[in-house]
Symmetry: C2
Subunit: 341 residues, 2 copies
């Protein structure tokens, strides 16, 4: 690999090494998926709060696309309060928590366990409250959304493969091996754009973010968990399909808009928004996933990988460059987990 | 009824008369619901764009609460782009469009028709593109969300009753007869609060709106269709359950927050947010649905009616008072439906 310029707060070698560690989980993840796929489920429940519901959104869309099993993405706090009747002994429940102790998620898990549901959790350590409440755990401490998605995807696509719904799993999983080196190359290429945009826009008083389809969860993560929680930046996220019912009226010449042009069938909806935006704001950032795809991976898989493609350059680079220019460390919160509430 | 003070841009007699007209649809609506309930469906699809998806949210939550039939609330543009596999000849599709010609909804309807799905549309005129594309139409020109919800509720609850899932339908439907006079009394009582709040806050540069559960769709309608589209007011809507992952960091002493305290099992989540907000913002509006309930209706139905309870005072009064103070007519758009996009 050619020598790259150093990127702000980024360690190339650690990123590649993390990729190897996560890919090494392929076999244990497949073993769990294979075992679970032997049973028939009435539905699949994806649950968590905050970043977890955001990342599970892509998993939800994948199941909807390839399978006939009903799938529901539930906020853990609401599902628990309502004793959601869809959680039964015939449910497969997937949950996750980075800290391993998110109270809403852990409580929902215990509730689901009592109903007799089968529970798989993605956690970052062997022993934590969420792991204790689960039937199966997939443990991996590697941070970064590339790693989060890789674990989730290997699991769910293997599961669907065993159900006869995703024929090309082996080729997909083989190609995931090159994901990190591919991602790193793209990160380096995009970092200058990310840096320039961050410098230009970090002081915006209000931003609109627009996108559609399978990347919408990742966009929730970007706007909620990063812009709001970590940078205290006011923004409005809206889907390309709902944009024309409300949010469009907020667009003015000096309102900053970030539009993500995705891959797949809803790209036309993003393009419709793009056409509208041209000339209506002078502060438009377009993130076109067509230009940021992974070259080592077959075209047919790029759509389902698009949350990773987006995360690779945005959560992976743009947000760090925002920190660099704003001087507001991504780890500083005034409220979140600072005290009980 | 005692003589009331006149409310800004509101006609008491027309409101009551509209209520009578909508309630007169009870029998024809029940006939359609009864006929449709004879068939078994694999799922129920609720679809539309903008305000329609917002109002269908409550219907979705009601079906989830009372029935085991899988239900999905789909944005029509995305569902059509993806040829959503959940739409099949075994689907019951419910759609709506005030104008009757919303292109995304009409196109989805034709697509659903081709799959063989059964389609029911709520429209405001006998002949319109959406009506042409549907198998059954429920026609009613009466505007106002009270009327919209009443039609939807009579249909879906009658349907669930026939499926054995909502035993007390007859009592519910009988009590709906008093809804408008009850609603009118509460409107008058709340109008002074709405007026004072609107005067105080119509110039806010940014607002946060928080709520949970069955009223969240109505809150989408308030913030997206009214604040954004009709008043060009910047705001951020977040659920009580997701508030603690992102949006909380945006709360400052001078940031205006509207918190809706709902009825039912998720009220505890709203109260948790309320406790957090106390002292953290000096601009807090609390809309407590406990204090705005319909007195002529049994307690057990108040939860499912809560979107109407909320709409009655907010879309019904607060938003009109916003117009009064901002001087920005609710009917003025700069973009929406002003030209092709």
């Amino acid at each position: 690999m050619p020598k790259h310029e150093e990127m702000y707060k980024f360690d190339d070698q650690k990123f590649l090494l993390d990729g190897i560690k996560v890919y090494a989980l392929r076999v244990p993840i497949e073993m769990i998926a294979d075992k679970l796929a032997q049973k028939e489920y009435k539905n699949i429940i994806l649950s968590g709060v905050g970043g977890t519901t955001a990342e599970m959104y892509a998993v939800c869309r994948i199941i909807e696309k390839y399978s006939d099993i009903p799938v529901y993405l539930l906020n853990a706090a609401e599902a628990l309060a309502e004793k959601d009747r869809r959680i039964t002994r015939n449910s497969l429940v997937l949950t996750a928590s980075k800290s391993g102790d998110t109270p809403e998620t852990v409580s929902l898990c215990w509730y689901a366990k009592k109903t007799g549901a089968t529970i798989v959790s993605f956690v970052s350590m062997e022993h934590c409250p969420l792991a204790e409440a689960s039937d199966y755990k997939i443990v991996s401490a590697e941070e970064g959304m590339e790693n989060t998605y890789m674990r989730l995807y290997l699991f769910i696509l293997r599961f669907l493969y065993r159900k006869g719904d995703f024929q090309n799993y082996e080729r997909f999983a083989d190609q995931m091996k090159s994901l990190h080196s591919d991602a790193l190359r793209i990160k380096h290429a995009y970092d200058r754009v990310a840096d320039a945009n961050a410098e230009k826009y970090w002081q915006e008083p209000y931003q609109i973010w627009i996108g559609s389809d399978i990347v919408f969860g990742e966009m929730t993560l970007l706007t909620m968990c990063i812009l709001e929680e970590m940078q205290w930046m006011r923004n409005r996220l809206v889907s390309s399909s709902e944009f024309f019912h409300g949010a469009l009226e907020l667009v003015e010449k000096d309102v900053m808009v970030t539009l993500v042009k995705g891959l797949g069938p809803c790209r036309a909806l993003d393009e419709r928004v793009e056409k509208f935006l041209q000339g209506r704001t002078q502060k438009l950032v377009i993130v076109d996933l067509e230009e940021l795809k992974f070259t080592g991976i077959d075209e047919e898989f790029q759509y389902i990988l698009s949350p990773i493609i987006l995360s690779n350059v945005m959560a992976g680079r743009y947000c760090w460059n925002l920190e660099k220019h704003s001087g507001h460390d991504l780890s500083i919160r005034r409220y979140y987990r600072q005290f009980k509430y």
